[in-house]
Amino acid sequence: MEPGALSQLRRGALEYCVLALLQDEPRYAVDLVTELGRHPSLVTSEGTIYPLLSRLRKEGLVLTEQRESEQGPPRRYYQLTRDGRRALDRFETDWRAFRDAVDETLRKDTP
């Protein structure tokens, strides 16, 4: 099993990565998940993103919409809500400060 600390960080950051991927346009759930899955340090099991998406929807940070598809059944698209965008902006600011502080501290410890 992975170290607890990393999995906690990942869990916290992943939802904002989902929001970030949606900031330009609505996206098809499968594309969204596949794209996140390209980063193994971020996502170990793609399937775990679906529960996350459902939570974001309940929290009102994303909306879903069914779109007709040429091949197969209708596809579920996710898009950012105004609250979602606000949460993302706030996270970006906090994250940069957090990341810089951690980087700087780690660098001091390395001779």
Partner: protein, 199 residues
């Protein structure tokens, strides 16, 4: 589109794990999401094995559904058995020797605990009433129904056990059933009591 057996097996597993932990409505939604993902990824030219491997185990997916706990859910230790459940299990199994009342107290503790379902409580009460008690009664018959004959020729002695009751294997089966069933019942109850029940 037809679902390949491997994918169907995976989705069935997911459904049963999810239904148990999240309820059937949320399980259906989750299975629909994951099923759509599988179908689309396979239609995109990826192999079912690959897609399933990347999706991760049903247990991990369902664990991600629960609000973030302090530790990753799959490594979180099961809830500890509380004193009430431990005492209930001990009394159900062996309480009969404490003037029979011990077992009755065990049954009361069993039925007043919130850790067990009604089904578990019925299992705990009726498999077997008295726990290992019936074994003592039957065991008593078994010893009274057999006698040992020792015959000696010179320095070698042989002991022959003669059973006067039903053939020996019948007794063995009965004893085995009387021991195994309550032990299995106790193990089952100990396991289910580790999980706090959600209403």
């Amino acid at each position: 589109m037809t679902t390949p057996p491997l994918a169907r097996g995976y989705l069935d597993d997911l459904r049963s794990v999810a239904a148990e932990r999240l309820g059937s409505q949320r399980a259906d939604e989750l299975v629909a999401d994951i099923g759509e993902h599988l179908e689309a990824a396979v239609a995109d030219g990826r192999s079912v094995e690959d897609v399933i491997q990347r999706l991760g185990s049903p247990a991990d997916i369902v664990a991600a559904e629960q609000p973030a706990p302090a530790a990753p859910p799959s490594t979180a230790p099961a809830a500890r058995l509380r004193a009430q459940e431990i005492i209930a299990l001990v009394l159900l199994l062996g309480g009969i020797i404490v003037f029979v009342i011990g077992w009755v107290v065990g049954v009361v503790l069993l039925w007043t605990s919130d850790r067990w379902s009604t089904r578990d409580k019925l299992i705990g009460t009726f498999l077997w009433p008295g726990g290992l008690g019936p074994l003592l009664i039957v065991g008593g018959f078994a010893t009274s129904g057999s006698s040992e004959i020792q015959s000696c020729a010179g320095s070698t002695c042989t002991t022959v056990t003669e059973t006067t009751g039903p053939p020996g294997w019948v007794g063995l089966v009965v004893v085995a059933v009387l021991v195994v069933v309550p032990v299995l019942t106790t193990i089952h109850l100990a396991r289910s009591a580790r999980v706090p029940r959600t209403a």
